[in-house]
Amino acid sequence: MADPKNELWEVVQQEQERLQAMEVDESLILANLRLSPFERLLQHDRSLALALALKDAHETGAKLER
């Protein structure tokens, strides 16, 4: 039988993770505001390419090139 205390802990942990995921890091926004709109867009596209490469590498087990 499942331990209700552990189940509750899991729910609390999930909720904490959910709230953490909703946190906004204002320092990142302030750093963006120091850039021009064009620089913000380039930085976004680079970050997205990196995120997709990491996801792809994770899924295929491939190593990333520097």
Binding site: A21, M22, E23, V24, D25, E26, L28, I29, L30, A31, N32, L33, S36, P37, F38, R40, L41, L42, H44, D45, S47, L48, A49, A51, L52
Partner: protein, 169 residues
């Protein structure tokens, strides 16, 4: 096996749209990024008038960019049939410069004319384009109200507050 999506080049895509004299307003995640929000978004969302004049400039560009229907990659590529597409409300496309969603209407705001009233011009160096302002982005995220929109809502509200504190338009 599905083909790997092209790497995004939002700046180049916007430059090509401006160069082709397409009327458009950037909405969605890229509009938020251009105004300072720290989010990652995969597709470029554009609100456009689906007039024959505008489609006759937009569709040939999309064909040049090898546009395909994202939900139906097995279908033939997009053709510049202005008459046919003038009745559409949404085109979800994969292009050689990344995914693009072309929208007639924005939830909570309206069609191009209404979206235009809530937009501002952004300087991208050698060209300029219009983007939906943060207040507009916030109102549409509230109107849509999915979990992922609510996560972005907090980021948009913080960006608007920080821009206001810094007296940015």
């Amino acid at each position: 096996m599905p083909t790997k999506p092209a790497p995004n080049s939002s700046a180049e895509l916007l430059r090509r749209l401006v160069g082709s004299e397409v009327e458009f307003i950037v909405v969605g995640g890229v509009a938020a990024v251009l105004q300072g929000a720290s989010i990652l978004t995969v597709d470029l969302d554009l609100c456009v008038p689906f007039s024959q004049a505008n489609l006759s400039r937009l569709l040939p560009l999309l064909v040049e960019l090898d546009a395909r229907f994202r939900a139906h990659p097995d279908r033939p590529r997009l053709v510049p049939d202005v008459e046919h597409f003038s009745a559409f409300r949404l085109l979800m496309l994969e292009t050689s410069l990344g995914p693009v969603d072309v929208l007639r209407e924005i939830t909570g705001i309206g069609e191009f004319e209404e979206v235009s009233r809530s937009s501002l011009e952004v300087d991208l160096g050698d060209f300029r384009c219009r983007v939906l302002g943060l207040e507009g982005l916030i109102s549409t995220k509230r109107a849509v109200g999915r979990d992922k929109d609510l996560r972005v809502l907090a980021e948009l509200e913080a960006t608007l507050r920080l821009r206001t504190l810094r007296h940015l338009p």
